[in-house]
Each structure stands twice: as structure tokens, then as C-alpha cells.
């Protein structure tokens, strides 16, 4: 495994009566793209803040690039680029003025970089407009450009595509992949949009109430949580009741043209198909792949009381 670049060991953080992070440990390897998944208020944004040293954990320790952000905060923040919903821009300044200002703070030496980044995120036409007039999606693109200003080694992206149109979403996801592949950028993405994450993440961390409840690659999670195989068959077969030769099924399409059979594993697929073909016409059949979204609910159902 690649050397770790982000670690958290037994981290806890409380705000008043709310235990935001509760003994959480995690690690992210250099060059990994990791999705941090969990419902609202599960501690995702708090974790990003702790890892950047703007919050102090009550217990435990975090490191980024081998450095403790509480001791070497400026060094850590030079390594990291952050996009969060709550960190805003100056609305009386234009997009370009905003990026130029942050370029000064991050010590960016290339004077053309702010302009080039704005062009890359699709704000070329609007770079001289005041940010106060921007839509949510445009602010998100600007936030993404700001996070990339100093070519950070580690990117923290909190809901990077929320508010973006399909084109913008695709561009951001493509850019994340490109940065990861060409520059080896490590990325931690918090998101609710699970289908999008599937296309960029190598690994997933599931958190709830500030605790890590599961982690793994999509294949690992499928092996652990995908209990049944769902076989969808387009057929003239019209069996009675909810079972067909011991296999429970549901009618997917009205009129009984499409049936979904629940099997214990893939080895049962050929036998079942042979049986149906012997009795009725079959127009098509496919095993329904379970995605991250189905796994998310399966994991939460099993791991949470």
C-alpha cells in the first residue's frame, strides 16, 4: 500500500452537547481518491476542519503529510486545498480579484494561474463579474478553482458538485480524475451524490454520528454486503404467487412482462434461465448490478442499531 498521507487516530470532538466526532480513526494513502460518506450531521465537514487544523480535537491526533496541523498548521495548509460550502468569497470583488487575493495568501508565483484556472472551470466569461451576482453553481466552480490554486498535494472537497448542472458536474469529476492520475493528488471527497462518487473514488469510508462504521473498495463492500443477486428477466412467463421453483420474485413491469428474481448467488442464474426458457419465451435477461447507493443503505441497515 502507498504511504499514508492523511491519518486520524481516535479523534473525538464535541460541540456543546453534541458529540460530532466520536473516537474516529482513518487513513488515506498517497494518491488515493477516497469518498467520505454519511448523512447530514454525521461529522464529515467537522473532520475536514480538524484535518486542516482550524478545529482542535478533544482527543486523538490527526496528521496530514506526516505533520500535525495543530503544530505545523501553515505547512499543512500549504499542502491542502479545501472546498467547503460554508467558506465563502468576497461578494463585492470579481471572481478574478477573489482568486488573485487567495493566490497571494497561498504564495502562488505564476500571475497567470488565477485567470487560467477560471477558464478551466468554465468561468472565462464571468471572471470580471462580482461574485455577489453568481449562482450557486458558479460559486462552487470558483471554490473548486480556489482549492486548486497552489497545486495542493491533498484536496478536501466537501460536496464539490452540489448545485452544479450536469455539464459542470462532469467537468469537476473529470478534473478530479485527471489531477489524481497525472499529478497523484490525494483527494478526500464528502458527498451525498453516491452515483457520482462511484466513478471517481478508489475507496469509501462510511461514517455515522462521528464514528467510522465501514470502509473498503466497491468490490470489497459488494462481497460483504451484496447478499442476493437480482436477475431481471423479460419474459412471457406469468407464474402465480411470489415464488417460482423456490426463487422469490417481483413483477417489475405491469402486465407481467418483466420479473425480478432474487437468487442467493450467481451460480443459480443458468439453471433458472433454462427452466424459464423451457416454459416460456425469454426476450432478455440481466443481473442487476448493485451500486454504491444500494450498498450505502445495506451497510447502514446492518451496522447501525
Amino acid at each position: 500500500m502507498a504511504p499514508t498521507v492523511i491519518t486520524a487516530t481516535g479523534v473525538s470532538k464535541r460541540f456543546g452537547a453534541k458529540q460530532a466526532i466520536d473516537g474516529l480513526s482513518l487513513s488515506v494513502g498517497e494518491g488515493e481518491v477516497v469518498g467520505l460518506l454519511g448523512p447530514n450531521g454525521s461529522g464529515k465537514t467537522t473532520m475536514v476542519r480538524l484535518l486542516n487544523g482550524v478545529l482542535r480535537p478533544d482527543a486523538g491526533r490527526v496528521t496530514v503529510g506526516g505533520l500535525d496541523p495543530l503544530e505545523a498548521g501553515e505547512e499543512v495548509r500549504r499542502l491542502t486545498g479545501v472546498l467547503t460550502e460554508s467558506a465563502r468569497f468576497y461578494s463585492h470583488m470579481t471572481a478574478l480579484e477573489n482568486l488573485r487575493f487567495f493566490a497571494e495568501l497561498y504564495g502562488v508565483d505564476d500571475p497567470a494561474r488565477p485567470r487560467r484556472l477560471l477558464e478551466e472551470v468554465g468561468l472565462a466569461e464571468d471572471m470580471h463579474r462580482k461574485v455577489g451576482t453568481f449562482s450557486t453553481g458558479m460559486r462552487r466552480r470558483l471554490g473548486f478553482a480556489k482549492a486548486l490554486l497552489h497545486e495542493p498535494r491533498v484536496l478536501f472537497l466537501d460536496e464539490p458538485t452540489s448545485g452544479l448542472d450536469p455539464d459542470g458536474t462532469r467537468a469537476v469529476l473529470a478534473e478530479i480524475r485527471r489531477l489524481n492520475e497525472t499529478r497523484g493528488t490525494t483527494v478526500l471527497i464528502c458527498s451525498h451524490l453516491l452515483r457520482q462518487l462511484e466513478t471517481v473514488c478508489h475507496r469509501y469510508l462510511f461514517i455515522d454520528s462521528g464514528r467510522l462504521i465501514e470502509q473498503g473498495t466497491l468490490a470489497e463492500l459488494k462481497a460483504r454486503y451484496q447478499k442476493a443477486v437480482l436477475l431481471e428477466v423479460e419474459t412471457g412467463l406469468a407464474p402465480d404467487g411470489g415464488e417460482y421453483h423456490g426463487h422469490p420474485f417481483e413483477v417489475v413491469e405491469e402486465g407481467g412482462r418483466r420479473l425480478a428474481f432474487r437468487l442467493e448467488d450467481r451460480s443459480q442464474v443458468p439453471g433458472l434461465l433454462r427452466r424459464i426458457v423451457a416454459e416460456a419465451d425469454v426476450y432478455g435477461a440481466r443481473v442487476v448490478e448493485q451500486g454504491l447507493e444500494e450498498l450505502y443503505f445495506a451497510i447502514r441497515e446492518e451496522r447501525l442499531p
Partner: protein, 276 residues
């Protein structure tokens, strides 16, 4: 110290002054009225119509006998009571208004620069950047302090030109300022501006919006102002040594506030109390 970042923060805040009418307007109007229109108008009126005021004569007779600061001697160099009154007004009674200018400016700018950052959600963006809280603080203090002092000095220059020019046809000499203004402008005004900025940092940390900081800042500043204004006229009647003493007092107050402000330098505490 990352001077590039300090400079960027200070410049950004100075530019923001121009973008906010609520901040810009008092900075233009107050110096214009207190520094140019009022002194120019009063000097002109005193010289043009001021000959026949008996009460004024009486006051001037009294002051001529005051044995301090060479005021009596200075007054006798003027030919008539209205010229003496102009000298007295411009050099002694104008001073309190000059303190108002940097007080107002540093208070407005720092309310906008500290509370405004929190109000607009931009403080979080700043705290994610590789800039220390000390650099952030310094940039913001400079952005309020330098324009405030600059405005006071600039207005002072314009006032000097205005009152001397208006009075020239009658007096035929430069009578403003007296040497006592030097320590006032160079020492008291910068230190007082700094104290106002620091005071506003405390206020901004307690409240959520620029409006609230601006208003509360005003409430805190007013008593100080009343005290200072009430005494400064008398102060100038005495010597530079007294002004230097007041300056030292302000310097101590500044140093104490700076010490107290160190608790805002802890990034995590700042974040939790100001961003949440």
C-alpha cells in the same frame, strides 16, 4: 512574517472601504465638514463680523493673563480681539474635532473589516489558508490604522491651508498650527486610532454583523470621546509635556489591549468562537 500575505489582506480591506458606501460616506463627509467647512467658515465669520462681541473680549482679557504655554504672549501679537479669537479657535478649540476624524475612520473600517469578515462567511476561507492568525490580524489592523491616520493628517493639512488662506486678508501671516499640534498629530492621534481599532476587534468578536459592530463601536467610543474632547482643549493650553503624558497613557492602553487580544490568535479558538 509572511509580508506578502499581510500586504494582500491590508490592500483587500482598504479597497473594500471604497466598495462600501456605509463605510466610505462618513470618511468623506466628516473630514470635509469638521476639517474644512466649519473651521474655514468660522474663521471667516469671526474676522468679518466678530468685532462687536463684548463677552469674547472679556474671555480674551482673561486668557492673556493665563501664565501657561505662552498663550498670553501669543495672543498679544495679534492686533485686535477678533484676530485673537481666530487664533484661539483654530489652534485650541479645533483640536477635539481632529480626534473625531481618526476615531470615526478607524472605528468604521475595523467594524467592517473584522465583523464583516465573519458576517459574510469569508473568515473560514481565510483560516483555511497558510496564513498565521498574527499575519491576518496585522493585515487587518494596518488596513484600519493607516487610512485613519492618513485621513487625519491629510485633513490637518487641508485645514491648515484653509484657515490660513481665509484669514490671510485680515492677518497677513500664517498663524496655524502652533507647535503643540505636533505631538498631538504624531503621537496622540496614531495611538488613539490604534486603541480604537483594538477596541473594535473586541466588539466585532462579540457581535455577528457589521451594523452591530459599528453601532456598538460607536457606543463604546462615545464616552471615550466625550472624555477626550472635554479635556483636549484644556490640554493644548498646557504644554507639549502634558500631551506626551497623555500619549504615554494611550500607549500603555494599546499595549494592554494587544496582550488581551492574544487570545484571538489561537486559530482553533478563533474558528470555534467566530465561525462555529
Amino acid at each position: 512574517m509572511n509580508w506578502r500575505a499581510v500586504r494582500a489582506i491590508a490592500l483587500k480591506d482598504v479597497r473594500a472601504i471604497g466598495a462600501n458606501l456605509q463605510v466610505m460616506l462618513p470618511m468623506l463627509v466628516v473630514p470635509l465638514v469638521l476639517g474644512i467647512l466649519m473651521p474655514g467658515g468660522l474663521v471667516w465669520a469671526l474676522l468679518r463680523f466678530g468685532e462687536s462681541s463684548g463677552e469674547l473680549d472679556e474671555l480674551l482679557r482673561l486668557l492673556e493673563r493665563v501664565p501657561v504655554g505662552g498663550l498670553g504672549d501669543a495672543l498679544t501679537t495679534f492686533p485686535d480681539p477678533s484676530a485673537q479669537a481666530v487664533f484661539l479657535f483654530a489652534n485650541y478649540l479645533l483640536a477635539p474635532f481632529f480626534l473625531l476624524i481618526p476615531l470615526m475612520a478607524s472605528s468604521t473600517i475595523s467594524a467592517d473589516s473584522f465583523a464583516g469578515e465573519k458576517e459574510r462567511g469569508t473568515l473560514e476561507s481565510l483560516l483555511y489558508s497558510p496564513v498565521t492568525t498574527g499575519e491576518l490580524f496585522l493585515g487587518k489592523v494596518l488596513a484600519a490604522f493607516l487610512p485613519a491616520v492618513g485621513l487625519a493628517w491629510g485633513t490637518f493639512l487641508l485645514t491648515a491651508v484653509t484657515v490660513n488662506a481665509v484669514a490671510w486678508p485680515w492677518l497677513g501671516r500664517v498663524f496655524f498650527p502652533t507647535p503643540n499640534w505636533l505631538p498631538l498629530m504624531l503621537l496622540v492621534i496614531p495611538l488613539l486610532s490604534l486603541a480604537t481599532v483594538f477596541l473594535n476587534v473586541f466588539v466585532s468578536a462579540r457581535v455577528g454583523t457589521f451594523q452591530a459592530a459599528y453601532q456598538l463601536g460607536g457606543v463604546l467610543v462615545l464616552p471615550v470621546l466625550a472624555l477626550v474632547v472635554g479635556n483636549i482643549a484644556g490640554l493644548l493650553l498646557f504644554s507639549s509635556a502634558v500631551i506626551a503624558l497623555v500619549g504615554s497613557g494611550l500607549a500603555v492602553a494599546d499595549a494592554l489591549m494587544l496582550l488581551a487580544l492574544r487570545r484571538f490568535m489561537d486559530r482553533a479558538r478563533l474558528f470555534e468562537s467566530q465561525v462555529g
